[in-house]
Symmetry: none
Subunit: 143 residues, 4 copies
């Protein structure tokens, strides 16, 4: 086989790694007193691990999944999607058949410059959601 | 308030309980050598915890969720839904807008006669999926 | 970072590789005189390359995509999904929210034992669809 | 048959023509250093050819398809859809069941005054997406 047709040395987040992200995110959520829905996906935006903490909103489950999918498949933090313009954000959500969101709380997981997946957090305020996701990723990278 | 209008002493599965189910299910899946997608929902069929083991199929994520939702909201094992008749099973899936399935692998979590939620397992053969789910519930009940 | 939390040495199909699959599949379709819709996805079932040949059916576009997504995310040929039983196949399609199909014509692309993605072909008879997809993959592996 | 009841001499973009658009668009994307998702549809908005370049976003696949479908079936550039008013753009997306978008990056392919189809591009900035699509069409018209 012609080696130019495939790319080797790709990284993949393990199931165990995904749960470390989820549980470290939970720990941070407990510290700030905000129960959260936390989703971790692979680079294709497909779910690896999920936790809805006691007291987190059922109505935030789907949003956490969408934030994670967005950060993973757009290779950027979800709040950067659609720019700073409200219409840009709404436009991206609609044009993607609701697969993407421009809301804050989706953070890509990057190792050696590769996006391996993402964490999406929902139930708190935007800054809280982002901080909880980042705490999860920090635990993975420092683990 | 008229106490007859509300029902107290309902049971609710905690987030920690849901993760015990997931991880015990994973342990059984490792023992039988079949990586699985494992979903645990509350009584409303809403996701509490999820894990896709290394090697489990991406194409089984949605099916695990559907099996768990079915067992939780139908108060019965998913393979009992729609009876033993193939058309019955298809009919239930269609009439529920694809929210339910009659495939094996969704098992309700029952404590003191109350259905607190369910586990749904997908990636293996029907008997394997059921056994993995039951192992998860057993760990919860014995824990 | 704890190396046990990620998996290195994963393979990825390049865009060029995907087009080689598509064009070799087209060539075989011309030889057997059956214009086809041909889709190639990555391992997550996300589209990489697509071609609808002159005379291929518009109504086969979505089916080709679904067959490729199925083979990629189930790690098996699409005709193996749901077993040999009609209900099994219908049940999988419904329980997956129509993301999967048990129809023949989706073939995984496997290199060094890893599923890098899949090709899905639709417009012909089952055997023709499979043969066209296999011809595409053969060109990649021999290229 | 009454000849007045049918219209002859319609133009149709061939599969080969669609791939020329895709590959010329890819060439321009390489020149400006922005990997893109590129979709070409027929006049009915149905996919003819597609390419996701190495490094282009998975989360842009659906948007490229929506932009192309919009330009083809609205007979205009996608950024003209819904006018210059944000609500107009959102309204069109919603009223079309998310089939259309007012985002820039969808360009109709016009020959002899007939819209034969369109190209839709997504992953870059609006001007980049449009320029890549136009480069694809230019190669077709000059070919």
């Amino acid at each position: 086989m012609n080696e130019a047709l495939i790319s080797r040395n790709q990284l993949r987040l393990t199931c165990k790694g995904a749960h470390i992200v989820v549980h470290a995110a939970e720990k941070h959520a407990v510290q700030i007193g905000v129960p959260q829905c936390i989703a971790v996906t692979d680079a294709g935006g497909h779910l690896l691990a999920f936790s809805r903490m006691d007291g987190a909103r059922i109505g935030s489950i789907e949003i956490a999944l969408t934030k994670a999918r967005t950060a993973a498949t757009r290779l950027q933090r979800s709040e950067e999607v659609g720019g700073t313009n409200d219409f840009g954000k709404i436009g991206v959500a609609l044009a993607s058949q609701l697969k993407l969101t421009g809301m804050a709380g989706g953070v890509p997981i990057v190792v050696d410059g590769q996006v391996l997946g993402a964490v999406g957090v929902s139930s708190g305020k935007p800054d809280q959601d982002v901080a909880v996701g980042e705490a999860g990723i920090a635990a993975l990278l420092e683990g």
